[in-house]
């Protein structure tokens, strides 16, 4: 532990901080605390969703596996979010996309039983690169990466979904839908050709805000936006870029539309396709998807600026056990999140557990000695989620 704290901390202070971290509110009283995987087992085998209990030390143990009765594809786009969690008072559900069939399977968190299956229109398919999702308490949106469509589903009681309609989308150069995220009445998307776009979802079905544009980074030619996060106040949209280094772009969306992005070069770790803000928004976690580590950058919520923070060491098992990093999830819903989890794409896959410390403008990311937690159920893990979810 000593390595995790600044040298001016006395052993006593360090111990106190350690206790505080361990007892930080990880979940609401009485709620289970899970890290959830979309195992994405390729059809014709039945795929599954695996639930991990989160220990006080941040370590994961398998709670159960739910067979969905459908199939996955064991791969696809990094930024397609294949697990979504709804914690809406009495309704607590996990939604997992099924790439082979294009369905959305819902699971009751309480019982870990299948609640429903939902499908879009006949044209909605994502069997090559996956089906992503984003949701609020009223609607779930599914991005179908093959048909380049976004389906809108109405959230209904009992973890059910009702398909409303779909729209065709696409990048300025014909790129395919990739990342998708919501905030309030706004949806922001990325496409595989460097373009980004926002939509108004106040009426449910997305309507383009007419602001589709090539990101600044892609205009520079070195990179293109992939995963997205939006600040709690909706002021900034943050894009993790696919690139040969760590590049993140930020757009001011306070006007309700995308503005030209500002590009941040945050290190040499390869690619940055998945990102996630810490609950307190002081840190942006970056999954170096084509590399072998994760990166954290300091984020200024007032200005939307990013500065270099810290980088983990090479995560265990790179090349030998896994080849790509996938999406991120956090242990805690407050502060810096405690432990960062990242999907490790391999056969079988695993989840790396990385402890975070941050104080005085410095941070560390250190993989836990017992990391990773194996996911024997997944031959190609890309998406994980947390319950309870981050509050924004």
């Amino acid at each position: 532990m000593k390595m995790c704290f600044r040298s001016w901390l006395t052993p006593v202070a360090a111990a106190l901080v350690s206790v505080c971290i361990a007892s930080a509110p990880a979940a609401g009283a009485g709620k289970p605390h899970y890290i959830i995987t979309n195992d994405d087992v390729p059809a014709p085998l039945a795929t599954s969703v695996t639930f991990y209990s989160v220990g006080a030390n941040g370590l994961l143990t398998v709670k159960g596996k739910v067979l969905t009765g459908r199939g996955g594809i064991a791969g696809g786009y990094f930024a397609a979010n294949r697990v979504n969690v709804l914690d809406n008072g009495s309704t607590q559900c996990v939604y997992a996309s099924q790439a082979a069939s294009g369905e959305i399977v819902a699971i009751f968190i309480k019982t870990l039983k299948i609640a429903s299956h939902a499908t879009g229109s006949k044209r909605d398919t994502g069997s090559s690169n996956g089906v992503g999702m984003a949701m609020n308490s009223q609607y779930l949106y599914a991005s179908f990466t093959d048909s380049n469509t976004i389906g809108t589903f109405k959230v209904q009681p009992g973890c059910k979904l009702k398909f409303l309609s779909d729209i065709t989308v696409g990048g300025l150069q014909g790129g395919t839908i990739d990342g998708m995220v919501l905030h309030g009445n706004m949806m922001v998307t990325t496409y595989g050709d460097g373009s980004i776009e926002s939509f108004n979802i106040s009426a449910g079905v997305p309507v383009s805000n007419g602001d589709e544009q090539n990101s600044t980074g892609s205009r520079g030619g070195n990179t293109y936006p992939n995963g997205i996060d939006i600040t709690q106040d909706g002021h900034f949209a943050i894009f993790g870029d696919t690139a040969t280094s760590t590049i993140v772009e930020v757009s001011d969306i306070s006007s309700g539309k995308l503005t030209p992005t500002v590009v941040y070069h945050l290190g040499s770790a390869q690619s940055s396709s998945n990102i996630m803000l810490s609950p307190d928004e002081t840190l942006l976690y970056i999954s170096n998807t084509q590399g072998d580590r994760i990166t954290a950058a300091f984020f200024d919520t007032g200005t939307g600026t990013l500065t270099k923070g810290c980088v983990s060491g090479t995560l265990k098992g790179y090349v030998t056990d896994w080849s790509y990093l996938g999406s991120l999830a956090l242990q805690q819903t407050t502060g810096t999140g405690g432990t960062v989890y990242v999907a490790e794409f391999g056969g079988p896959s695993s989840i790396a557990e990385i402890k975070v410390t941050s104080a005085g403008g410095k941070c560390t990311l250190k993989e836990s000695p017992k990391s990773p937690a194996p996911d024997p159920n997944s031959p190609g893990l890309l998406s994980i989620g947390a319950f309870p979810p981050r509050p924004f």
């Binding site: 791969g75 696809g76 786009y77 990094f78 930024a79 397609a80 090559s128 690169n129 996956g130 150069q173 014909g174 790129g175 395919t176 990739d178 595989g192 050709d193 205009r219 520079g220 030619g221 070195n222 990179t223 293109y224 992939n226 696919t242 690139a243 040969t244 040499s268 770790a269 390869q270 690619s271 396709s273 998807t289 084509q290 590399g291 072998d292 090349v319 080849s323 790509y324 794409f345 190609g380 890309l382």
Partner: protein, 530 residues
């Protein structure tokens, strides 16, 4: 739409019609038989005139074949070897008779003047690139940017002079319609072209039996990584699944082998083994350019589209000998290039069987010169001593959006925007006749690439920042993959020679992994007249 999208469209729409086709291409040699050279068509009185017809079909194993067919009058021969001498005139008529309804997956030709039939670039369209020849990038010569031959149309007429100072050696011809090159070269449409006279530069090849081996590669579905077969002169080399092709040699006999790597993406470290041990090979030429001095090697790395010409000496009788391509790592995101025995060398004093691939027309054997010529007598002479007029930096890179391999392939002039090739694009490099330029080319991708430029050869000066001992002239050169963070990019430094006024015009440079080329890892260069 960008090339990726168009390509995917082509996959979806054009994938299934393959299976409906009646056979148009000849049967290929059976596995485990003697490897014969292709039919040779040799120039006579300074002219080689021939007609090739492009067809295609699917064999019983499901492999799609595109084929250049030459009608011998007695039957059909596939991809004949074209043999010319310096100063000869090549008159080649090419007809497109690909029977395929592919109204989708098309690309527009660049605006302005077109050459040939014009129209849209489709899977059933074709043209010809004369790989390595230092000839003009103009209509009816070696122009792949505007030349289009459409199915059912009258023959397109190529008419070019082999320069009087063209390096003697092995070249090859293949289709080069952007977006569809890989489909047509996969397992089929590629043939050898020999410019005679090597013995004038390397008298050690005089009197030796010459073999021309064209190595091809066939995937069932060329755009999907997976099992593939190598072939040698169209015979499957897939040991132990199939019996090995047989290469006949007499005990202790020396033969002059001219080997073209006409695969779509296979990097081949070539060796000849006796009793399991690699033997010394006398390397004579690379990429159709005679070495200044032959050298003894045990491995010759030939990238896709590269050629190697070397002397092999057979072992005494009763020794086991094989011709083999070793495995080659193309990096974390590249396709695996597996070790494969290309042929079993059968060492015996038996007379070879007479085959129907005897020369169609015989060229008179060239007597070696009294004193060997040197490379100062051919193109690019004195290049190393030239002072470069410009320096450029280029780099290969790839981008991933997910786990299904790279989705964008770039070759970029440093400082310019990364972008994929578009037929309508403006040249990314403009230079002029007389220029001599040093290009530093870096590979920033996790996959090995093969740099190729049309119309000229280049001299290799440095590899990974270090001067090379053998500054060979090449037209295709491998640049190994980047090992990842903490490692430097691999690179080459080469000297480009634009002094020849006949190569003025617009042509291309690209990666010769053909999928990469088709997906846009290519750009134009304009050489302005002086």
């Amino acid at each position: 739409m960008r090339s990726v999208s168009r390509y995917l469209l082509a996959i979806v729409i054009c994938g299934f019609p393959f299976l409906r086709l009646a056979a148009q291409c000849p049967n290929r040699p059976e596995a485990g038989t003697v490897v014969n050279d292709a039919l040779s068509l040799s120039s006579a009185n300074g002219v080689l005139s021939a007609e090739l017809t492009m067809k295609h079909s699917v064999d019983e194993a499901g492999y799609t074949h595109y084929c250049y067919i030459y009608d011998t009058g007695k039957g059909e021969a596939e991809s004949p070897t074209l043999r010319l001498n310096q100063g000869d005139n090549l008159l080649l008529d090419v007809k497109d008779r690909i029977d395929l309804d592919d109204s989708a997956g098309m690309m527009e030709m660049p605006p302005g003047k077109t050459c040939g039939d014009g129209g849209m670039m489709m899977l059933s369209s074709t043209n010809v690139h004369f790989h390595g020849l230092n000839v003009p990038p103009t209509c009816h010569q070696d122009d792949v940017l505007t030349t289009l031959i459409q199915p059912g149309k009258p023959a397109f007429k190529f008419n070019m002079l082999i320069p009087a100072d063209e390096p003697p050696g092995l070249y090859w011809y293949h289709p080069h319609v952007h977006g569809f090159t890989e489909f047509q070269v996969n397992g089929g449409a590629a043939g050898a072209l020999v410019v005679g006279g090597m013995e004038k530069f390397h008298p050690e090849v005089s009197g030796l039996k010459e073999r021309v081996f064209v190595l091809r590669q066939q995937y069932l579905v060329p755009w999907v990584p997976g099992p593939y077969q190598l072939t040698i002169n169209y015979q499957v080399a897939d040991s132990p699944s199939f019996p090995s092709p047989i290469i006949k040699m007499k005990p202790n006999e020396k033969q002059f082998w001219r080997v073209a790597n006409a695969t779509i993406q296979d990097f081949m470290p070539l060796q000849v083994w006796f009793n399991g041990k690699p033997q010394k090979l006398q390397l004579i030429a690379l990429d159709g350019y005679p070495l200044a001095k032959s050298r003894m090697v045990d491995t010759i790395l030939v990238p896709p589209a590269g050629r190697a010409e070397f002397i092999v000496q057979a072992p005494p009788q009763n020794n086991e000998a094989i011709f083999i391509a070793l495995g080659y790592s193309t990096g974390p995101t590249g396709n695996p290039d597996l070790e494969q025995q290309l042929g079993r060398i059968d060492v015996s004093n038996e007379e070879e069987e007479t085959t129907e691939t005897a020369n169609e027309t015989e060229s008179k054997p060239v007597e070696p010169a009294a004193a060997p010529l040197t490379t100062s007598n051919i193109k690019f002479a004195g290049l190393e001593e030239q002072k470069p007029t410009a320096q450029r930096k280029l780099y290969f890179s790839e981008e991933f959006g997910g786990t299904n391999g790279p989705i964008q392939f770039y070759i970029t002039v440093d400082g310019q925007k990364q972008k994929v090739f578009e037929p309508n694009e403006k040249p990314v490099i403009t230079t002029h006749v007389g220029a001599v330029e040093d290009w530093y080319i870096e590979n920033r991708a996790l996959e090995t690439h093969a740099f190729h430029i049309h119309q000229i050869h280049f001299k290799v000066l440095e590899v990974d920042g270090k001067p090379v001992a053998d500054k060979d002239m090449r037209d295709t050169m491998e640049i190994p993959f980047w090992e990842g963070p903490g490692h430097p990019y691999h690179s080459i430094k080469v000297r480009m020679d634009f002094r020849d006024p006949t190569i003025a015009g617009t042509f291309v440079f690209h990666c010769h992994i053909l999928l990469h080329e088709d997906l846009g890892m290519m750009h134009k260069i304009l050489v302005l007249p002086k």
